[in-house]
Symmetry: C2
Subunit: 288 residues, 2 copies
């Protein structure tokens, strides 16, 4: 039986199905759903992911290759989610499947004292991908309107102001040839409880657990509301949000992989032409 191509696994387009548009309500998204995926078996999902790895790797290499001859384009994947939703798995299985040289990954933590002394976008600007790279933000400037809002880490007027500043910042990146793919991995409160319980059960997972995780969990409704507001106000045509149901980890990985493939395919990346005389170089090489 011939292997199925990556596209054949999709009956509908994640780009359309998962996009945050007018009237979007986070509470209406079923974290256990698998929009657009034409298949339900886990094996089937593994096959689809493997098939996508080759497609994504090829596209990433083309993006990188073009940058060597001056193409300024780059991609930025922004990952946001509640704890345990599976950002790590996306980084490991989707991002990790392409050439490390083509990736610029950064995991944002609570800001340092120096970072706090600057505008909230200051530290973010320092981690943007160069031309030809796929940047990956594991958490991002959105923390400043998520935990920032829930924990009132800045005055209310400042938080309100940030949505517009984020929009303008992202527009500026898009104007400078960055394709932005913003993904929220969406799980339910019960899923999180189960996953935190697993971390507590397994000694090899204890290092991933922090008592503060429960403090955050106790603010679940406030976080959902903060996400709803952020998604509504910052899902623009230039930089739309995609909410990816993530109870089924295999689906979340496939969907993010597909969103990345889709974004790269739209760049219509051919191999750059040789910047030298190929025949002349063959002759030079032969003479060595």
């Amino acid at each position: 039986m011939a292997a199925r191509s990556e596209q054949e696994f999709w009956a509908g387009e994640p780009r359309a199905l998962l996009r945050v548009g007018p009237g979007f309500r986070l509470a209406d998204v079923d974290p256990g759903s698998t929009p657009g995926f034409d298949g339900v078996e886990k094996d089937n999902a593994d096959e689809a992911l493997a098939s996508g790895v080759d497609v994504l790797s090829d596209l990433q290499e083309r993006l990188f290759a073009n940058s060597r001859s001056g193409d300024p384009r780059r991609v930025l994947l922004v990952l946001q989610a509640m704890d345990t939703a599976g950002k790590g798995g996306i980084v490991r299985h989707v991002v990790g499947a392409v050439d490390p040289h083509g990736i610029r990954l950064y995991a944002f933590k609570a800001p340092t004292e120096e970072e706090r002394s600057h505008d909230f976008l200051w530290r973010v600007r320092k981690r943007l991908p160069d031309a030809g790279l796929i940047g990956v933000f594991d958490r991002s400037h959105y923390e400043d309107v998520l935990v920032g809002r829930v924990r009132a880490l800045a005055p209310e007027a400042e938080i309100e102001d940030r949505y517009g500043r984020i929009q303008r910042f992202e527009q500026e990146l898009v104007d400078a040839d960055t394709t932005i793919v913003k993904v929220m991995l969406h799980i339910g409160s019960d899923d999180q409880k189960e996953r935190l319980a697993e971390r507590l059960e397994r000694p090899d997972k204890h290092w991933k657990y922090n008592p503060g995780d429960i403090d955050e969990r106790m603010q679940w409704p406030a976080y959902q509301q903060a996400y709803q507001i952020a998604l509504e106000r910052t899902s623009t045509d230039a930089a739309p949000w995609f909410v990816v149901p993530a109870e089924k980890k295999w689906y979340a990985r496939l969907a993010v992989q597909h969103l990345l493939i889709d974004a790269l395919q739209r760049l219509d990346l051919s191999w750059p032409p040789a910047s030298f005389d190929v025949e002349a170089e063959k002759a030079r090489l032969a003479a060595t």
Copy 2:
């Protein structure tokens, strides 16, 4: 048939077989050999590499986990080679198989004007891995005694001085809990000719080719001599060199993977104990 464990593929230890010791002569190393590998088939090599991926990933995660509770240890893989020897393949297939969050990869290019205005180790210090990470140098401070020597990019006395400064620099890193694994991938001049020819034949490889590659190739004997000197003078007990025959790409990948596994196993990494009261946290979680 039970899967073979990573160790079972080795009849001899790469750490001993590939190490640069007293009396080492680069010219005596056969680039097509496969020291210590118990098997010759390509399929067999794929199986061995896949088996090593799980071992290496587990060790990397332990290293990372321990750093979260204050363990200062880290690893630095230094990759050096003539063009086309396969550094990219090592990064893609060995380094790329572990969690990207655990890797700090940096590809050193020709130094910028700012970098040239500082000591040659200045830019290298900025790219060292943090605790818990596996740093990977694709090229390194050794360029300053390789191309630096062949192209006379610094006065002879300065080049001579650098070997000792490199030794002291690496000793300093080792004293600060860095395990250094230095690898030279070794190919023959004919291998390189073939691989450059392939880049010229394939339009999807043109971007990897640079006419300067031939200029460097024409200095092959001078580079081999510069490597011989560097290997001799900087293979110390604290930071030994390993010369990995790399004509067979599958062997080079397996050998580097094994050297990394070996280095990490020597760190004797158990999972860090929980820094919190597990039972109390279970109760807190249950109450949410």
